[in-house]
Every structure is written in structure tokens, then in C-alpha cells.
Amino acid sequence: MHRIVILGAGTGGTLVANRLRKVFFPDEASIICVDQDDRHVYQPGLLFVPFGLSDTEEIVRPRGRQIHDHIDYRNTTVLRVDVAEQRVFLTDDVELDYDVLIVATGCVLAPEETEGLTGPGWMEKVFTFYMPEGAAALAEKLSSFNGGRLVVNVVEMPIKCPVAPLEFCFLADWYLTERGIRDQVQMTYVTPLDAAFTKPVAAKHLGGMLKERGIELVTEFNTSEVDGEGGRLISYDERVIDFDLAVVIPVHNGASYVTASPGLGDALGFVLTDPHTLQSLSSPNVFALGDATDLPVSKAGSVTDFEGEILVQNVCDFLAGKPLSASYDGHTNCFIETGFSKAMLIDFSYDVEPLSGHYPSAVGFSLLKESHLNHLGKLMFQWIYWHSLLPGRNIPGIHSDMPLAGKQGLTNQQKEEVLR
């Protein structure tokens, strides 16, 4: 009997556990899934909490209940992995031996790594909506905010959902307009990148959207210190940005046990992963997906879902002693909420940057363009997440490979691929 151990019961761990359970009968493979707590957060929902459009109770459910029967779900902490011995060490001297290990423990916020961030003013003038408590506290603050300088700051990449801080700006613009105080608020978006976003075509669109909304863009700002009491962001090259209210996205690290497991991760605790097979570089029987990897893709639910399909196929091939047949192409898509009940959609891969057109084919959601339908798509996704994505069902029309049909501005070679 195959022994499969999955670390993490978030988006990736849950959907992979459920998919693998459908592939193997209980007498063919044992599946153990480990997580340190029992709170599964629908993370895309965090964005809506500060504006009173959602609340933390609505987006948190027990992890165990998302995991199907005949999967041994355990609430405990992982201490380290010994890749050579094929063994996971848990608290209370529990050890798990595996034939295949799947790492899906995502990433953790590390606000304490930025000087002053969690000091005086934290959760009073300085907030983050990247965790439920922060998002809820920010909702309260925003409802009584009467004007001044609102600064949104990404400390350093990589972060989960790299478009979320921009969406926060767009929604804040809408929210403050609805409250009738937009003209009393000076908004600034402060990023370490050299543009509003990384991918050039999307960066231009998104930068333009900030401008249209009167939101100032400050680039190449590497935050060294947050002075909550004095209301100042200070960069390493000694630039200062004053604020009355700061929304900061702290630096992210991989799970701490990854750094304690020799060979598994990089200096930040992200798992060194093959970009196509999703195998850990440390060993062919260790796989990784989602926010936990070091791959040059967005840390986003869509990526995790697409990777999950590939990873399950490759785990099956590996256990059958066959060459791995599935390959991940870096496919990512994200709905970008733009305020006033509209949203935009971007779809891209390792090789193809976000283009305009439609998704998933010539008819569908418009790409790189604001529409009401995209907004409905984003809202609908919460239902799909709990009822289709986590249970491991295939979503009709949505595939792990990035579709080229429907995209405009493709190269000739890419067009040939569509026709093939």
C-alpha cells in the first residue's frame, strides 16, 4: 500500500488530498493530511472585509470538513522533514514515514521582520488586510476614517495575490467615494517594483487605472522602517512618506519547518521546486504546490488549482514507476476587482504575458478590461471554491493549460499553436 503524506490543509493540500482519494481506493493508498490549525480561510475574501462587503465569519470554515472520508486528517505541528529517511517529524514525538510527500503549507506573514511595523500604532494607524484579524480591525478603522493621507505599501515581493494591494486601492477609491469623503483623502500606492505590477502590459493598464482614480504611484520604494506613531514610511535610501493611515503588506516567508529541513527550501523557506514536474529539487518523491513553492508564478488560488491537477497526475505516474506525464506551464488567472461593481481578468503563463481578448475562449470573460460580468465572476468564485475546487471537481471550461484562443496580440508562433 502506498503511503502518501500531505503537509498543509489549505487550498492545495485539500484539493490534492481529495483528488488523490478519488484515484486510489483506501486499500491502495493511505492518505494523511496534516495542518497546525483547523481554520480554512477563503483568502480572496479578505480583500472585501475592510469595506464591510464580507466578514471574517463568512470566509472561515473548519479545515477538517473540507476533507473527504478515508483521509486521515491531523491537527498538529510539523517540526521538520528528513528527505533522505522519507520521514516527517511532528510534535509529541510522532513520526510519519512516506512513499510520497506533498508540501502544501503555503506561506506565513512576517511583519516583525520590518523595523517598527508591529510597534506603536500597529492595528491603530497601521494595518494589514492579509490576515482575518487585521482585515476586521481595518474595517472598523475605515468606517470612522474622516480623511487624510492613506498609504498602501507592499514591503517586498513575493506576496500572496500580487494584485490584491492594487484591488484594495480601487475598492478604497470606490468606498471613500460612496462615503462622500474621497476628496478629503490623499491616496498613495507605494511599491518596491519599478511599476504598478511586474508584467509590462498589465503594469501599464493598472498604472493607468491608478492615475485615473487620482492615486499617486511611488515605485522602487524599499521600506526599511514603519514609524506608526509618527506616521512615516522610511525607505532604505532614506525617502520618507507621511501617512495618517497605512495599509501594509508585510514580507512573506515559507513555513518555518521548511528551513529546518535540510535541502528542502531556499533562504526564505520556499520549497525549491521543478517548474514543470512540481517535484521538489531535494528528492523525486517529494512534490510541492501553491504558495509554498519558489516558482516564478503568482501565489494565487488559480495557480494552486492548476498545479494540483498536474501534481496528482505526476504522483500517480511516480507511484506506478512510470515517467511523469504532466507538465505545468505557469498558467495563472486572476480577477482584479476595480470598484463600482466592476472587475478585470488577467490570464497568463510562464511564457505568455497577460494579453487582452476573452477567456476561456473567443467568448467569455473580457481580459484586461473592466466589466460587470468579471465582477460577478469574482463573487461567484467563492461558491465554486468551497463546492467545486476544494472537493477536487473539474470546473467546466477551465483547464490547467493556459488557453491561447481568445487572446489578442499573440505572436505568429503562438497563433499557430491555437490553430493546431
Partner: protein, 105 residues
């Protein structure tokens, strides 16, 4: 893209001045690339970072970000900004002749 003679060798640079072929790099080239960025001459600490960037690139195929540099190079982030003002990872990568660190997304 442009072709220039740096450190006695003809090399191709991209529009931002990064070396297209990192294997052509040598120390004389680093001295010249640093001078173009207003660093003349490179001091011991700056050389330490440049060599560290080369080693990381050769081992992993990509240069480290500032945060990783701060955690692994033995030079703190504050010092890195003193050594390479306006963006240590980018500037040190350019002088080390390796590609601009990708903005992870």
C-alpha cells in the same frame, strides 16, 4: 541592445545595461561596469557582494533578492544600501554581469 567593449571584450548589453551573456564576465569588466554606475573603485565589501552574487547565480541560475542577500551574504540590508545606493540587488547584479533579479509575481 548594444555591443560595447568593456574590460577588453566585446559584449552585448540589454537596454538597461545588463550583460546578455553572463559567461563573458570578468573582474576587469566589473570595475568598468561599476565606474559607469558611479562606484570607483569597488571596495572590499562591494567585491564581497559581487562575488556572492556570481556564486548564487552559478549555483541557482538567478541572482538573489535584497532580502535573501541580507539573510545569506553576511552583509546587512542597511549596509547593502550604503554599498549600492538605489537598489543593491539590481546594481550588484549589473556589476556582477548577471541578469536583473526577476520581480517574482
Amino acid at each position: 541592445m548594444s555591443v560595447e567593449t568593456i574590460g577588453g571584450i566585446d559584449v552585448e548589453l540589454n537596454e538597461e545595461g545588463f550583460l546578455l551573456d553572463p559567461s563573458k564576465w570578468n573582474e576587469a569588466m566589473a570595475v568598468e561596469l561599476a565606474r559607469r554606475e558611479g562606484i570607483d573603485p569597488l571596495n572590499d565589501q562591494q567585491w564581497k557582494v559581487v562575488h556572492f552574487m556570481r556564486a548564487e547565480y552559478e549555483a541557482k541560475g538567478a541572482g538573489p533578492s535584497v532580502r535573501v542577500l541580507g539573510k545569506t551574504s553576511g552583509v546587512t540590508i542597511k549596509e547593502l544600501y550604503q554599498l549600492f545606493p538605489k537598489g543593491p540587488a539590481k546594481l550588484a547584479a549589473k556589476i556582477a554581469g548577471i541578469p536583473k533579479p526577476r520581480g517574482c509575481i
